[in-house]
């Protein structure tokens, strides 16, 4: 009787099997990678209402992180400084620069400057700055070389896995507390011994149970 299918159809089944396996794996890994903060959020650098340059203020003027973000040493939040802080200088410096207009407006009207949030961890994760900086985790570890950024950019994924990487093995990220704000600090050769010493002395065991961050 008449052939319904041409010759080549015979190969379809095998190929189909192969294709299915590849496609499914592809989908899973696609989501894994393209859905991850790693891919989605690193490099997020919105233009701020005021083109404040960390590069200039930190590298050239040599301002310390604490000058503006001091609350990081006391509280969970490393707060954006109040207009007041900026005005301590800018009442005298660059008083009529165009880009600083929003700042002066804020100072006169008392309405805050609306900065765009760059580093944003979800509400259900409670990160505490003070406990990290006080045991010697450098600003740069999470925020990258802010001193080289014209526009602040998110340089780490800040995904849960990323947090756990460090919490499972904090040693490589520890530094002398006085070096915390030092963007350029490089671990010395004996850093391992140093880290062990700190972990010993300060009894550091970074919690990896849920409640440490999620409450």
């Amino acid at each position: 009787m008449a052939q319904i299918f041409p010759e080549w159809v015979d190969n379809i089944p095998k190929r189909l099997q192969l294709a299915t396996i590849i496609v499914i794996t592809g989908i899973i890994f696609g989501f894994w990678y393209f859905g991850s903060p790693e891919y989605l959020e690193v490099g997020y650098a919105p233009n701020q209402p005021i083109p404040y340059s960390h590069k200039f203020h930190v590298s050239e003027l040599g301002m310390d992180c604490q000058y503006c973000h001091g609350s990081a040493w006391k509280s969970a939040i490393a707060a954006i400084p109040p207009t007041e802080t900026c005005m301590t200088c800018h009442e005298y410096v660059a008083v009529d620069s165009e880009p600083l207009q929003p700042l002066r407006d804020s100072w006169e009207t008392g309405l805050p400057v609306e900065w765009i949030r760059v580093h944003d961890i979800p509400d259900h994760a409670h990160f505490n700055h003070s406990i990290h900086v006080n045991v010697g985790i450098g600003c740069v570890t999470c925020h990258g070389r802010v001193d080289r950024m014209e526009v602040v950019m998110k340089s780490e994924s800040m995904s849960m896995g990323w947090c756990l990487d460090c919490h499972n093995n904090p040693a490589p990220h520890l530094r002398p507390v006085e070096e915390v704000t030092n963007m350029a600090w490089e671990p010395p050769d004996d850093h391992y011994q140093f880290a062990q010493m700190v972990i010993e002395k300060r009894n550091i065991n970074a919690p990896i149970y849920c409640n440490a961050c999620h409450r």
Partner: protein
């Protein structure tokens, strides 16, 4: 009333999705001008689409999309973003203050705690104080001044006052709440001086007037009796719920619990007798309870006095008096007991009982030499010299006769609360000008020509005294949200027509009150929350000469109530009081301590009485429908209300709780329950006899959080009589047979050789002392405030979906028809070491932490509810709907209620499980602070971590701390012989343990009648 009513407050979710705030909210998350991500549109779109879809699914509670940061322009002093500040203030209630400390986050009050320095608080608090924070953020509070119902302004009002009160000859009447404020008193004086024809009447629906009248009768002076239950070894409560219905309840509970405390079997706890009609919270903590009608209480009191008159001097007036109770078994036993404990006994009577009862009580206390020992009589300068209830009745009469030109109402809501026979409303219509200050645009405001919106006490300056006279300043923590005015500002405007700041008025007053340099003293008062050393002075009393004559009079008048005539007893509601808290969702949803009914008031009656009127004496399991009864007083006033059978209630007596059935007050209060004030008379306010009761045949749905009221003989709540405890101190631990031994005694052994806890300090644990717990339920409200627990409304509670993380189970034991015993048991999460919930979660959303907490990770939860099913203690709570979103985005401006949230606690989204966390946010804060300070340890010193329930508990029933430290308070508690684990045989190893309750009955009355 017929069918169950759903609060308009609780919108359906799809309605919610279209609701304005919700859209605003989604838009807010993705502002139009939100900046692109560096590598162009594609990625941002992805984010936005993802974000939007998730946000619409409502996941926003768990995920925080692109948003703005608004820093301060000028950062206020002391404020470090992220670190809460605490200020001392005081909570006024019925004219008495209780010292509190208020937690604020970046300037918004979020939590109220007791003030350790304040003797009326000792760091503890009650449900009203805990819930006050929600009143502050009540969107339904009145927001403007109204003139005859139409919008007006504060300026117009002051202008009106200037013009209107220029004529000082006017017959002005001031109607105010009870108060103890020096500032208000100062203004009151100047008011009375300014208007010669003025009069000042205090109006409190539930007041201490008849107590004062009683002392006046006995001692010739209106004095406030103040009881020291900690000093008493025997207490007799005559229909007095002093643990709840009192202005000093926090101190009372503390003292009472202290007098019952038992460190070891050889200690001698105090003994409490209660004679009462309803089954009150106090009654449920009594060693012996006599259920008699409230109308029989006077007779009982007189009979007791008569019996004692033979044995002590000072009661001669009662000699030879006899009535039905004279031969009652209790009288002789009590008399003997009281004689044995002269100087260390207390007799109290319900504040609503008539003066003769209080006079007699005062006389007995005095005769027994309790005065100055356990009872003090305080001279309170802020109480009027005349009976204010009478004065009020008189005022209403004059109003009706048109003899009042202007009525100035400072707070109070008489149209709603005034006794029916006075008919306040029609009287008010005869008054040309009526000015009313109130938090809500309420029943009275609607009838007044002027309504001024009142400020919440957390918003304005004020002052006053505690029950015992400790003077405090009420310090505001936030600008008035709705530009409300305080009572002082209001009264001042009336007098001077000027708009003076409360701050000024209060400081002016305190210039006289503080000695030494003012600023220093003032700051000290603000810092401590009280003026040290200040208190009302206790006066020494002696029986008035006229007393015996008076006594003869009222003994003559005392008539025996007809045996089976039914009495209606109207009492303040444990939560709503007189209705002033009716718009508070937390209180509405807090189960009544005895009935566990929420969102309604009911007609409480005994099984026998119920049967008599054709109401089934027992409820069918799981059936929320209750029979509705029609109650008619002798004078023909009616109310129809759902009947509720309360075992242990006196027969032929029906208790009604006031404070419900408010009209057009707010989206929470409206239509909830039935207003029973119309059943109240202006004379003998507590009860009316010879009521006519009939079943209507209709039924009404009641939301009760506890469906089954018997323990079924199960050993969950361990209690014993003192003797039994002394013979067998470890009875509670031995109650359940547990196979296997570890440590020194029976414990379940595990197949696995698991350590008691991991090598990690601290290890948290909790002990709850059932002997201290009185079952007031403040732990529930404190927890709700601390942990952002939503209010879910009547419908959901009725479906058994209440969200409270700590509940108080209440069980009856014994003869339901007679006088059953009641047991209260607070149940939070037990934080089992071998937690059954952890095993079964497919996604590991609930796990164990290094410091022994059973953690619930909301954002990992997919909501299979398997953990809740597998929890033997049923402490897990599931978000069946998007409760938090309904709670936080409903209404005119949800931002307001959002301000009440605790920023340290995640707001839970629908479909996730939640439960008690041992206040892990407080634990983490303590651990981090400790680490930052010490640099090497995360173990906070004992007592620095207090859970919300523990901190609030006035009885100190809850202790919490580190189990690895033998010297920690909790370890000491757990080492006591009364300590036991609920359901220990399951070997789940709960970290929360209980200490058994010890009753101290009198052998002579071993069988409570």
């Amino acid at each position: 009333m017929g069918k169950e009513q759903q609060q308009t407050y609780w919108r359906s979710l799809n309605e919610l999705a279209q609701n304005e705030e919700y859209r605003k909210f989604v838009e807010r998350e993705f502002p139009e001008n939100a900046t692109e991500l560096t590598d162009g549109v594609s990625r941002r779109n992805f984010l936005q689409i993802m974000g939007a879809s998730i946000a619409l699914a409502g996941l926003a509670a768990c995920r925080k999309p692109v948003q703005k940061i608004l820093p301060y322009t000028r950062q206020p002093e002391h404020i470090v973003p992220g670190i809460p500040l605490y200020y001392a203030s005081a909570v006024p209630f019925r004219g008495n203050l209780s010292g509190v400390v208020v937690e604020t986050h970046e300037g918004r009050p979020t939590k109220i705690e007791g003030n350790d320095l304040h003797p009326g608080s000792n760091g503890k608090s009650n449900i009203r104080q805990q819930a006050a924070i929600l009143d502050l953020y009540d969107q339904d509070r009145s927001r403007k001044v109204l003139r005859n119902g139409s919008d007006s302004t504060w300026e117009d009002f002051t202008a009106f006052c200037r013009e209107h009160f220029a004529d000082t000859g006017r017959r002005v009447a001031f109607l105010s709440e009870a108060h103890s404020s020096p500032t208000l008193e100062r203004l009151r004086q100047s008011a009375l001086n300014r208007f010669p024809n003025a009069r000042w009447v205090t109006c409190e629906p539930f007041s201490e007037e008849s107590v004062l009248n009683g002392t006046a009768m006995a001692f010739g002076r209106r004095l406030r009796p103040s009881y020291h239950f900690d000093k008493a070894s025997v207490t007799l409560s005559l229909d007095d719920d002093f643990l709840q219905d009192s202005d000093n309840d926090v101190a009372h509970i503390g003292a009472f619990a202290q007098s019952r405390a038992l460190a070891s079997p050889d200690e001698e706890p105090s003994r409490l007798y209660a004679a009462e009609s309803t089954y009150s919270l106090t009654g449920s903590n009594a060693d012996h309870r006599l259920r008699i009608k409230s109308s029989e209480i006077p007779l009982f009191t007189f009979a007791l006095a008569a019996h004692l008159s033979g044995e002590v001097s000072g009661l001669e007036a009662y000699a030879g008096y006899r009535n039905t109770f004279s031969d009652h078994s209790w009288i002789s036993v009590l008399a003997e007991e009281l004689m044995r404990n002269r100087g260390s006994s207390i007799i109290t009577a319900g504040p609503e009982h008539d003066a003769p009862v209080h006079a007699t009580v005062a006389a007995i206390n005095h005769a027994l030499g309790n005065t100055g020992q356990t009872v003090e009589y305080l001279d309170v300068p802020y109480t009027a010299t005349a009976d204010q209830n009478e004065a009020f009745a008189g005022l209403v009469r004059e109003m009706g006769e048109g003899q009042i030109d202007t009525l100035v109402m400072i707070g109070t809501n008489p149209v709603y609360t005034a006794p029916a026979d006075l008919d306040f409303q029609t009287a008010l219509e005869q008054v040309p000008e009526s000015l009313h200050l109130s938090l809500h645009y309420d029943e009275t405001s609607r009838q007044s020509s002027w309504h001024v919106n009142r400020a919440h006490f957390l918003e304005t300056w004020g002052d006053g005294h505690s029950f015992t006279g400790v003077r405090s300043v009420i310090q505001p923590l936030i600008q008035p949200l709705f530009n409300g005015k305080s009572e002082t500002e209001f009264l001042n405007a009336v007098l001077s027509g000027e708009d003076a700041a409360g701050h000024q008025l209060v400081r002016e007053t305190w210039q006289e009150l503080l000695d030494g340099p003012f600023e220093r003293g003032w700051n000290e008062v603000l810092h401590d929350g009280l003026q040290r050393g200040s208190r009302y002075n206790a006066v020494s009393v002696s029986l008035a000469g006229s007393f015996s004559a008076e006594a003869a009079g009222f003994l003559e008048a005392a008539e025996e109530p007809g045996g089976d005539s039914v009495e209606l007893v109207v009492r303040p509601d444990p939560r709503m009081h007189d209705g002033r808290f009716a718009n508070n969702g937390w209180l509405q949803e807090l189960p009544d301590p005895m009935t566990k009914v929420t969102w309604d008031n009911v007609a409480l009656m005994s099984p026998n009485t119920a049967e008599r009127f054709g109401i089934p004496p027992t409820r069918r399991f799981g059936d929320p429908n209750q029979m509705v009864v029609r109650l008619r007083t002798a004078s023909g006033d009616e109310a129809e209300i759902a009947a509720w059978v309360l075992p242990g209630h006196a027969d032929n007596s029906i208790t009604l709780h006031a404070g419900y059935g408010r009209q057009k007050v707010g989206r929470v209060a409206d239509q909830v329950g039935v207003n029973v004030f119309p059943l109240r008379r202006s004379v003998s306010r507590l009860y009316c006899t010879a009521a006519d009761v009939s079943a209507t045949g209709r039924s009404y749905v009641i939301a009760c959080t506890q469906d089954h009221h018997s323990l079924e003989g199960r050993p969950h709540v361990q209690d014993a009589d003192l003797d039994h405890y002394r013979e067998n101190p470890t009875f509670a631990q031995d109650a359940v047979y547990v196979p296997g031994i570890y440590g020194d005694r029976e414990h379940p052994v595990s197949l696995f050789d698991d350590k008691q806890w991991p090598d990690h300090q601290p290890q948290w644990g909790m002990a709850i002392d059932l002997n201290a717990c009185i079952g007031c339920g403040v732990c529930t409200i404190a927890c709700q405030a601390e942990n952002n627990i939503p209010v879910i409304g009547k419908r959901e509670v009725r479906r058994g979906r209440e969200m409270h993380w700590i509940r108080t189970d209440r069980y009856f034991r014994g003869d339901e028809r007679g006088n059953p015993q009641v047991m209260h048991q607070p149940v939070p999460c037990m934080h089992c070491e071998n937690a059954p919930c952890e095993q079964v979660c497919p996604v590991a959303a609930t796990t164990h932490s290094d410091d022994g907490l059973n953690q619930m990770t909301y954002n990992r939860c997919i909501g299979t509810r398997y953990c809740a099913n597998n929890c033997p203690y049923k402490v897990r709570r599931f978000n069946f709907f998007n409760y938090s979103k309904e709670y936080l985005t409903t209404g005119d401006d949800p931002e307001i209620i959002q301000m009440a949230m605790n920023p340290d606690v995640t707001v839970r989204f629908r479909g996730v499980m939640e439960k008690c966390t041992y206040c892990v946010q407080r634990i983490s804060r303590a651990k981090i602070d400790t680490k930052n300070e010490t640099g090497d340890t995360v173990k906070p010193s004992d007592g620095t971590v207090k859970t919300a329930c523990q901190q609030a508990c006035p009885a100190n029933a809850i202790t919490f701390g580190d189990l690895t430290d033998e010297k920690s308070i909790v370890s000491i508690q757990k080492s006591k012989d009364r300590n036991y684990l609920m359901l220990e045989e399951l070997n789940v190893r709960p970290r929360t343990s209980y200490l058994a309750k010890i009753r101290n009955p009198n052998r002579q009355l071993s069988e409570p009648s």
